[in-house]
């Protein structure tokens, strides 16, 4: 009955995530994340690369594996159809005084994030994007976007864009979301 498929890497990281997450108290995990990991290295990567690869060519448009990618643009990171935002949910930090991978002054990037795989129409490659929330100030409410490519429910947390990804920051109040390239998926 199961249609479940997953790569070895996937299974390994998932099992690991669960083993860490299930047995570590909140404060322990938070402090450990905060103390030992830098913002860029702490990504629990559950890559969506395989899904892009799994999409047959007949189901692609302009080489894009999803409808979002097929109509995305690469020049304006303050619009929702910017290619990296295929799975973003929330305020664009680039419209709030930050940048596409920079937090606005007065906020702090989360060392954890959810992950999407987005198609760049410029080089026809797909990239793994870490959507790192910027935390500590309230919702900045300039350009708000909802990309849902590969967005899964919270029982797949690394692919879920509803979670306030402010684990390990000094305040868990959500301000905006960034979209940093953390790897190529093509």
């Amino acid at each position: 009955m199961s249609q479940h498929k997953s790569s070895t890497f996937d299974r390994l990281t998932e099992r690991f995530l669960r083993s860490v997450a299930g047995h570590v108290s909140r404060r322990n995990l938070l402090s450990r994340l905060g103390l030992t990991l830098t913002a860029s290295s702490a990504l629990p990567l559950l890559p969506w690369a395989k899904d892009a690869e799994a999409t047959p060519l007949s189901h692609q448009k302009n080489g894009a594996p999803t409808p979002f990618g097929a109509s995305a643009q690469t020049s304006d990171d303050q619009r929702c159809d910017y290619w990296r935002y295929c799975a973003i949910d929330g305020n664009l930090c680039s419209s709030c005084g930050g940048g596409v991978h920079s937090c606005p002054p007065g906020t702090e990037p989360s060392p954890t994030s959810w992950i999407g795989t987005c198609f760049n129409p410029g080089d026809k490659r797909s990239y793994i994007i870490a959507y790192r929330d910027c935390c500590g100030q309230d919702s900045c409410n300039q350009v708000n976007c909802l990309g849902t490519d590969g967005d899964q429910p919270s029982y797949r947390p690394q692919a879920n864009n509803d979670i306030i990804w402010c684990f390990g920051t000094s305040s868990q109040v959500y301000s905006c979301s960034t979209a940093a390239i953390v790897g190529s998926a093509s």
Partner: protein, 401 residues
């Protein structure tokens, strides 16, 4: 000495008021309007059309709230705070309902408090304001706060990002125990044939974990084999389920409905396709994301009328990965046959569909302007529009739901 001054102050003011009132009767024939006391209203007992409406206030989530609405009169009867990705649970017709919320002592900073607030359903007074060991901070999901069918236990989902469920005694408001549900999330409570209670959660592998609760015993966990693929066709978190009999209807992004009898060993039934019930081909999954079809989507995307077994699902035209798009129609399905009963157009694209549980049910929808719509479920016609009830209306909770 200061106390005396304050006393004299009040006396002076009362005399002033009386003098003014006394001087007034000379002016006109009509009797002078009487002076009025201030008071606080109490709600009448709830009928089946009392509904709680949660407003997440996405732009200012610290000020989320729950509106108490009389859906017959389309009248706001009161509100309570539901701060920062809150959840609500309970029955507006019962003695109390619950709000799980989060606040910081300095607003956006300082000491964080995860709270389970208990409200008296008639006075809306706060009965208990318990601080929790934690709760998941996520755009609100109904199955992050649930109550057992007997009303005796409250379940709070926590994510640190580890996964746990805190079990709270509804009488003492204290956490009895916390259950680790590693790799799984959400809470679907059930009661089995032996009146044994517990809950199931959905796991990242496409299966379920079933948590049995026995008095004075450690909760026991069983796992159901994976039955769906989270990568290719996940089930919606807001799929409807009834705690009383543990019957869940897990709806997938593509439009399949998995009937699952939840219990200590949950039993997964054979799925049916919503689109096939409408004479259409089944919706494609993530392997074919470009196919445009009618698809389920939204936030509170489905509601279930228990007595008739009718499921109401928000549907829209779109490709795969449009699972959060607003519904354009409500598809009413008799899950017992299964058969499509009707397709009801909505007054405005909506992320929300709700239903009351009585024999003359009302349907609820919303829109992006915070308007709240009340439809007659028998005719599908709009009865009332409550303009700008709030801003981000995401959930309804009706009496007896």
């Amino acid at each position: 000495m200061k106390a005396t001054k304050a006393g004299a102050f009040v006396a002076c003011l009362l005399v002033g008021g009386a003098l003014i009132g006394g001087a007034s009767h000379v002016h006109a024939e009509e009797p002078v309007l009487q002076t009025e006391q201030s008071d606080t209203l109490t709600l009448p007992p709830a009928g089946p059309h009392r509904v709680l409406v949660q407003d997440a206030v996405y732009e200012h989530a610290k000020d989320g709230r729950i509106y108490v609405v009389d859906a017959d009169k389309a009248r706001l009867m009161g509100m309570v705070q539901a701060a920062y990705n809150a959840n609500m649970a309970g029955n507006p017709a019962a003695k109390a309902f619950y709000v799980a919320e989060t606040a910081w002592s300095h607003g956006n900073r300082g000491t964080k408090a995860d709270i389970l607030a208990t409200y008296d359903s008639r006075s809306l007074a706060i009965v208990n304001d318990e601080e929790l060991p934690g709760r998941a901070l996520v755009t609100p999901k109904a199955h992050n706060l649930q109550i057992s069918a007997d009303g005796k236990k409250i379940f709070v989902y926590d994510m640190t990002p580890g996964n746990a469920v805190h079990i709270i005694d509804a009488n003492t408001h204290k956490v009895e125990t916390s259950v680790d549900i590693a790799g799984c999330s959400l809470i679907y409570p059930w009661t089995d044939a032996n009146r044994q209670s517990g809950f199931s959660s959905i796991c990242g592998n496409g299966g379920l974990v079933n948590v049995s609760l026995k008095a004075n015993a450690v909760p026991t966990l069983t796992h159901t084999a994976p039955f769906f693929s989270p990568d290719i066709d996940p089930v919606f978190e807001n799929s409807p389920e009834a705690a009383a009999d543990g019957q869940a209807w897990f709806i997938t992004y593509s439009g399949l409905v998995w009937p699952v009898a939840l219990g200590p060993d949950s039993t997964v039934g054979t799925p049916f396709s919503l689109q096939k019930l409408a004479g259409q081909k089944p919706g494609s999954d993530a392997k074919n994301p470009f196919d445009v079809a009618w698809r389920p989507g939204g936030w509170q995307l489905a509601a279930f009328h228990r007595k008739t077994g009718h499921l109401f699902v928000l549907m829209h035209r779109g490709t795969f990965w449009t699972h959060k798009a607003h519904g354009q129609e409500i598809w009413e399905v008799d899950v017992r046959k299964p058969a499509l009963i009707r397709r009801i157009p909505v007054p405005a694209p909506t992320s929300l569909v709700g239903i009351t549980q009585d024999a003359e049910p009302l349907i609820f929808t919303s829109d992006d302007q915070g308007d709240f719509f009340i439809l007659d479920a028998k005719t599908g016609h709009l009865r009332h529009k409550m303009p700008h009830l709030g801003s981000s209306l995401i959930y309804t909770l009706s009496s007896g739901e």
